[in-house]
């Protein structure tokens, strides 16, 4: 069992190398291997999840070095869930990329995609703070390549901005790690948790600085206001499958906040208690408001989807800022939902853009789409999911969050912001949808062109299948919300009682 923990990291890494080295000029083979690899990772993720569901915490010691000295990978309920979520997302997005031909519009799409997956899986599995930094860099450097996939002037400029913003974030991450190491003398998360509790009072200020710097780094990744400026342009300009994959990238930031601030700087640690709660809460409320207003004000579909991603991070971080078992489980449920819903929105928006021809994503009346009814239904589904209306899981997620924050002192503020912004989002989506799907113009036949050039080419079915698969996963998350919440509540329990995690990693039974 234990060796399987590293498989989600090793398999994409090896596959990416093979894809680059020996299949450079065989696009068909690349597609087959990339899909097969993602399928294998999905199977591994499911088996890891069934193992983690028993409540056992598995530790994988790299090079067999014991915990505080070597790097460990740790599989607990949360990391298993995140790995499975990424694996599901990845295979659907790959189907979409293959179906639309996005993967052939530039070089090395599949290799970069696999490297990105390797980084994301590693970030979720690692139990070492410096290793977390390394996996962040792995996923970032792959995302730089994916971001500018297929080229284009605006995409390049958005890419430069994205890379520079993230390089500064990485620098901050190193400063944070250096500070933490200077105070505690370790970077293993479990060991950090123990040593942070023993830090002498004269060093506690330094520990707080480290904790705060680390929070800022993760807040950049999670696009918390006012550190969200990299996101709209990046997500709007990234190729659609890449933007859909990026839906999990902001969640890496949320995951890291959740991990570090329950395990290392938990609510019980006096030095850093209540250090970030308020900042996170008010930042998240603002993030939600800005995101939803952005949906209403967006002039292009790509930016609409990007602001929807910001808004979903706002909702998620509001729940995260509670740091109780109830709020954490609501946050995790919403995290799973918003990842799938965000990705769905990005790929549906891309289908709309592709079929509208020259007018693309601009929100003004245009020609009717080739698969009009189908895509309208998909957009409707994505909008319902993102805005949080019944019957999809967005509604359940928001309900859980509203219920979980009941004990907070700011409960009325939180409730009103969440409910009002939901209304704003509905308005925004209704406006965009009606302009695109209802106010269609039948193009006047140009006199100098013959009729056959106007008939649309047959549309491939695979992209639509991928969209429906994503929608089906959201439906499944709503239908099986009971059993999902059972797992997630156990996850939150496990997170808020880190003693077992620490003793398992450090072998102190």
């Amino acid at each position: 069992m234990s060796h399987w923990i590293i498989a989600p990291v090793v398999l994409p890494a090896v596959l990416a190398a093979i894809l680059t080295l020996s299949m450079r000029h065989h696009p068909a083979l690349q597609r087959v291997f990339s899909l097969a690899g993602s399928g294998a990772v999905l199977a591994i993720a499911i088996s890891l999840m069934t193992h983690a569901a028993t409540g056992a915490i598995e530790v994988y010691e790299l090079g067999n070095w014991p915990a505080p000295f070597g790097i460990v990978l740790v599989l607990d309920r949360l990391s298993a869930l995140m790995v499975l979520l990424t694996a599901v997302l990845a295979i659907i997005i790959l189907l979409y990329a293959v179906g639309t031909g996005w993967d052939q519009r530039g070089n090395s799409f599949h290799a970069l995609f696999q490297f990105q997956l390797m980084g994301i899986f590693g970030a979720f599995l690692t139990g070492d703070a410096f290793n977390l930094f390394v996996f962040f860099e792995v996923l970032l450097i792959a995302s730089y390549g994916l971001m500018i996939h297929a080229g284009g002037r605006r995409r390049f400029r958005a890419g430069v901005q994205y890379v520079i913003y993230n390089l500064l974030g990485s620098t901050l991450f190193l400063f944070a790690l250096g500070t933490l190491y200077a105070v505690t003398g370790t970077l293993n998360m479990a060991d950090l948790a123990q040593r942070a509790a023993e830090v002498p009072p004269e060093d506690s200020g330094l520990l707080r600085v480290g904790a705060m710097l680390l929070f800022l780094v993760f807040a950049i990744k999670a696009a918390l206001l006012p550190l969200h400026f990299w996101l709209p342009e990046t997500y709007a300009e990234a190729p659609a499958p890449v933007a859909a994959l990026f839906a999990i990238m902001t969640k890496v930031g949320a995951y890291a906040i959740l991990r570090m601030y329950t395990l290392v700087f938990g609510p019980d640690l006096a030095t850093t208690a209540n250090l970030i709660d308020q900042i996170l809460l008010y930042g998240a409320l603002l993030t939600l408001a800005v995101g939803m207003i952005g949906i209403l004000g967006a002039k292009r579909l790509g930016r609409l989807a990007a602001f929807a991603a910001i808004a979903s991070m706002g909702t998620l971080l509001i729940a995260l800022s509670g740091f109780t078992v109830a709020t954490t489980s609501a946050a995790i449920y919403y995290l799973v939902h918003s990842t799938l819903a965000g990705a769905l929105l990005f790929i549906v928006v891309d289908l709309v853009r592709e079929q509208r021809g020259e007018i693309a994503g601009a929100l003004r009346p245009g020609p009717q789409l080739a698969q009009h009814g189908l895509i309208t239904a998909l957009f409707f589904g994505a909008a319902i999911a993102t805005a949080g209306m019944p019957p999809l899981s967005g509604f359940i997620g928001k309900l859980l969050i509203l219920d979980a924050v009941r004990d907070m002192s700011e409960v009325w503020l939180v409730w009103s912001v969440i409910l009002i912004t939901s209304l704003v989002a509905m308005l925004g989506f209704a406006q965009a949808g009606s302009v695109i799907f209802w106010k269609t113009e039948t193009p006047e036949p140009a006199p100098d062109e013959t009729e056959p050039t106007h008939t649309a080419p047959p549309q491939p079915t695979l992209p639509v299948v991928a969209c429906f698969a994503m929608l089906a996963s959201l439906v499944a998350l709503s239908v099986f919300a009971g059993s999902a919440m059972g797992y997630i509540e156990a996850t939150a329990d496990q997170l808020h009682d880190p003693a077992n995690y620490i003793s398992t990693v450090l072998r102190q039974r």
């Binding site: 860099e137 400029r157 890419g159 500064l168 990485s170 400063f175 342009e233």
Partner: protein, 118 residues
């Protein structure tokens, strides 16, 4: 020694930040390089400053310098080197395609052009 290291890190960081805030790709890249130098020195110092000490524990060695930050710095140097190469190529590509090296994406491009590119 401590003062010298600390002020060097501070100076590098300040200069790096200033250059990053210039928002043109060449100064920004130089600024990021300066920031990575600063962070490398900072990481190096996080294991406490010690001069002429062995980095390994052996019999008879009472005082030693912490080897772990040196390994961390090595990793950080490699990563920042790779990242700098990527950002140089990207910035060059961006400049050559749009003839504009401003990092800031303002509303300068006329709206029609935006939609065609989207």
């Amino acid at each position: 020694m401590e003062l010298l290291t600390a002020s060097a890190i501070g100076l590098l960081t300040a200069a790096g930040l200033y250059l990053v805030l210039r928002l043109r790709s060449f100064p920004v890249i130089i600024g990021i390089s300066l920031l990575t130098y600063a962070v490398n020195l900072f990481l190096f110092a996080s294991g406490r400053l010690a001069i002429n000490m062995p980095p390994v524990l052996r019999k008879g060695v009472e005082i030693y310098t912490d080897p772990l930050p040196q390994a961390l710095v090595l990793t950080a140097i490699v990563i920042s080197f790779g990242m700098t190469a990527v950002v140089v190529i990207l910035a060059l590509g961006s400049y050559l395609s749009s003839r504009n090296d401003s990092v800031n994406i303002g509303p300068k491009a006329p709206p029609d052009e935006q939609e065609n590119e989207a």
